[in-house]
């Protein structure tokens, strides 16, 4: 048995398709009637074929019209006209409405749809149930019904139903939409794009909400310039975990191109797959914004993020460059007796023959242009003097104890 299941998002999109169909049919009817036709608020439901009576309701006599769309995609349109209009007018109107609807759908999907129109004998709505079951119910259990009413001068001209069974929906979801096929693939892929992007954002939202990164972890990462050793940093591992946890991709590595610039390389990028048929390069904005939010919201480091290479542009991987704000890095960088050492440096022209511990401090700050080192002699730069003013006035962190590991964990 073919099971018809649609996510809320796809249902919503099919409702939009129903709206489009109904509005074209209503416009055509309006021209033929020579007056305004209002379309009532539509609804869309997945209905068991055996319960079709719930959809085709009412007790007034109607003239039913059954129309089937063929050619690239498929679907059925059922219209129940008030019997007062008579079969001739109904045939004329329904043919015009289906022509307009078919043309609109053909343009949308880039196919050539040929609607067939069958006007059935007048009777109660329930009288066409058997006929519809025979048309809609072959091998399927459920169908989608988009339902609305066309009103003219406060009275109902016809009930309009767009009905799609399992096969119809499959055709529509696989349909390639011209112009957009290049970027977004089939109708189904196009619809799923936003849904998948949202999944990434929801995962990121949860991570940002539930994660606290100790300043010590950030500081240690920012002070480590060894390309191999930095991979062992807790923050390095955390960043990789967050990105893969958000389904950004796999095979993620981080490297440094300058003290304030990092490269994030994603070998197997899922974001590229989310927009599956795109031929445009540099499209992984989801990764770009994810990185930007991790740095600014989680690490407290403002930044600018740019995708410099994209797999969709024939690159080996997607590569994003994160340029960190120097001030934010300076805010978190100092530890221990760094400031004391830099103050000593400020008080003297230069400090020769430093012990190795202080040489390591000087080396870290030299990377950021705060100090210079030449022939073992360390001096403070102009930027270093400004940095010192900035760092000396750094307010105490509100609750530094919370960042320390408890004794049983250390």
């Amino acid at each position: 048995m073919k099971e018809l299941y649609l996510s809320e998002f796809k249902k919503d999109a099919l409702k939009e398709l129903g709206n489009m169909s109904a509005s074209h049919a209503a416009n055509a009817l309006s021209e033929m009637l020579g007056g305004k036709v209002n379309v009532t608020a539509p609804d869309l439901n997945v209905v068991k074929i055996s319960n079709m009576g719930e959809v085709v309701e009412g007790d007034e006599d109607v003239i039913p019209v059954y129309s089937r769309l063929f050619g690239g995609i498929s679907g059925s349109v059922i219209m129940l006209f008030a019997s007062r209009y008579g079969p001739e007018k109904v045939e004329q109107w329904s043919s015009g409405m289906m022509l307009s609807l078919g043309n609109a759908m053909s343009r949308f999907f880039g196919v050539s749809l040929k609607p067939t129109v069958t006007v059935l004998p007048a009777g109660k709505p329930s009288s066409i149930l058997d006929y519809l079951r025979s048309k809609l119910g072959k091998g399927v259990e459920k169908a989608i019904f988009f339902r609305t009413r066309f009103m003219h001068s406060s009275s109902t001209v016809c009930h309009f139903f767009l009905s799609l069974n399992y096969d119809d929906v499959s055709y529509i979801m696989k349909a390639q939409i011209p112009e957009f096929t290049e970027e977004y693939g089939s109708f189904s892929e196009l619809l799923e794009t936003f849904e998948k992007l949202k999944v990434v954002e929801i995962k990121l939202y949860d991570i940002l909400k539930n994660t606290r990164v100790p300043k010590e972890e950030i500081r240690s990462f920012l002070r480590n310039f060894d390309p191999d050793d930095v991979k062992e940093e807790a923050l390095y591992k955390r960043l990789v975990d967050i990105l893969s946890g958000c389904d950004i991709g796999e095979g993620i590595t981080i490297s440094r191109i300058s003290p304030l610039e990092l490269l994030f390389r994603v070998e197997d990028c899922n974001v590229c797959k989310i927009i599956p048929a795109s031929k445009k390069g540099n499209i992984c904005y989801t990764t770009t914004t994810t990185l930007g939010r991790i740095f600014s919201e989680l690490l407290g480091i403002g930044c600018e993020v740019r995708e410099v290479e994209c797999a969709k542009n024939s690159a080996d991987a997607c590569v994003h460059q994160v340029s960190m704000e120097q001030l934010d890095v300076f805010h978190v960088l100092p530890e221990g007796d760094d400031i004391e050492f830099l103050e000593r440096l400020a008080d003297t022209a230069e400090l020769p023959n430093l012990p190795s511990r202080e040489l390591r401090i000087a080396d870290v700050y030299a990377q950021y242009g705060v100090t210079t080192m030449k022939d073992g002699i360390v001096t403070l730069t102009d930027l270093g003097r400004i940095f010192l003013t900035f760092a000396k006035n750094k307010p105490r962190e509100e609750n530094p104890a919370s960042e320390e590991k408890p004794p049983w964990e250390s």
Partner: protein
């Protein structure tokens, strides 16, 4: 109603729309190849894609965010909603709408005013000293300092007022 020639890209429910950040209307957004359509209680409003540009996403109260867009060069439009929805929308729109004023392809997650405020708070007050610290042009810093002075955030000498300190505290030390 959208015309048949337009191709629907995606549709987003549960959004709020405003043009002044004060009055908000519940809306649905439908994005097509030609336009961004917003449906409020008053019906559909059309914004042609070639008149729109994206500025940024800002955090709002609670779990919400606001996407800031420009209609033309001057008129701002705001779309608010739950954070994941707004960021998904932002990412989706970014794939075909231009961004306002940013260098090509780069997205900024920072703000010069925030940096200048922090520099002042930590005792760096002269624009020529703030400049290498925050890596911004001298003129931009002077302009921000003048604005801070006008708004009573700092004195002419670059000393933060009580209001300035409060703003800094509210932003928090990240």
């Amino acid at each position: 109603m959208k015309t048949a020639e337009e191709k629907l890209l995606f549709k987003v429910n549960d959004l709020y729309f405003s043009i002044n950040y004060k009055e908000w209307k519940k809306c649905i957004l439908a994005s097509t190849d030609l336009n961004v359509w917003l449906r409020t209680q008053e019906g559909w409003i059309k914004f042609p894609n070639d008149k729109l540009s994206i500025q940024e996403v800002k955090k709002a109260s609670g779990d919400s965010s606001v996407l800031i867009m420009y209609i033309g060069d001057k008129n701002k439009a705001f779309l608010g909603g739950k954070q994941p929805i707004i960021y998904s929308l932002y990412n989706a729109l970014m794939s075909f709408l231009p961004t306002k004023g940013d260098s090509l392809g780069a997205i900024k997650f920072t703000d010069s005013k925030r940096l200048v405020l922090r520099a002042l708070y930590q005792g760096v007050r002269r624009p020529e000293n703030i400049m290498p610290l925050v890596k911004r042009e001298y003129d931009e810093i002077v302009e921000i300092l003048r604005e801070f002075e006008r708004e009573g955030i700092c004195t002419k000498a670059g000393i933060l007022t009580e209001k300035g300190r409060l703003i800094m505290m509210e932003e928090g030390y990240k």
